[in-house]
Amino acid sequence: MESKVIKAKGKFQIVPTSAEVARAMAKADRRKAETTLSYADLMGIIQRILDRLDALEAG
């Protein structure tokens, strides 16, 4: 699927999908999951897992 692009400060830049953002945060999420999580942190991690699953199923 073609990534969306925007033009900012004279340059074209790829707009990452929510799944790509989630993938970029995967290592940090894994480290965070080994600690005691706040409710907000937990919800954030679950949302990113769901975003990646959606992308996986759509692929």
Partner: protein, 136 residues
């Protein structure tokens, strides 16, 4: 002489030095004979990055910006590019212009001519730039 094949929407699909027969066409396609050489016709629209034409160019996330050069032999002041569906008018000086691609985020840029009835989006007329994570 070259043969130009157009699709059912009149877009230039490809061109060839061969005199293609009608059986080379699929439904809705048409062909026309143009008095030009293959090299001359290919110079009507060319895209390159770092001197690379018609191939995928790779860059690393967070690395240097990628400068994409566009050129045409048709003596135009500007040409419209399609960058992943976004249309950008690029001014030309002496038939050449450029756009800048950021490497801030990973993904693939696909650059083609916006007007495919005028220019062919194949060979030197299309450029893919893949921005890949650098593994850090």
């Amino acid at each position: 002489m070259i043969t130009v094949i157009r699709d059912s929407k009149n877009n230039i699909k490809t061109f060839s030095e061969s005199t293609l027969d009608d059986y080379n066409l699929v439904l809705g396609e048409t062909k026309e004979i143009v008095d030009s050489s293959f090299v001359e016709y290919s110079r009507r629209f060319m895209l390159q990055a770092a001197g690379v034409f018609g191939q995928t160019v790779h860059a690393f996330v967070g690395g240097d910006d990628v400068i994409v050069g566009v050129s045409t032999s048709l003596g135009m002041d500007a040409v419209d590019l399609n960058i992943n569906g976004t249309i950008e008018r690029v001014p030309l000086v002496a038939g050449m212009g450029e756009i800048v691609l950021s490497t801030a985020n990973p993904g693939i840029f696909i650059i083609t001519p916006a007007d495919r009835t005028m220019f062919c989006a194949a060979g030197n007329g299309i450029l893919s730039v893949e921005v890949v994570p650098n593994g850090k």
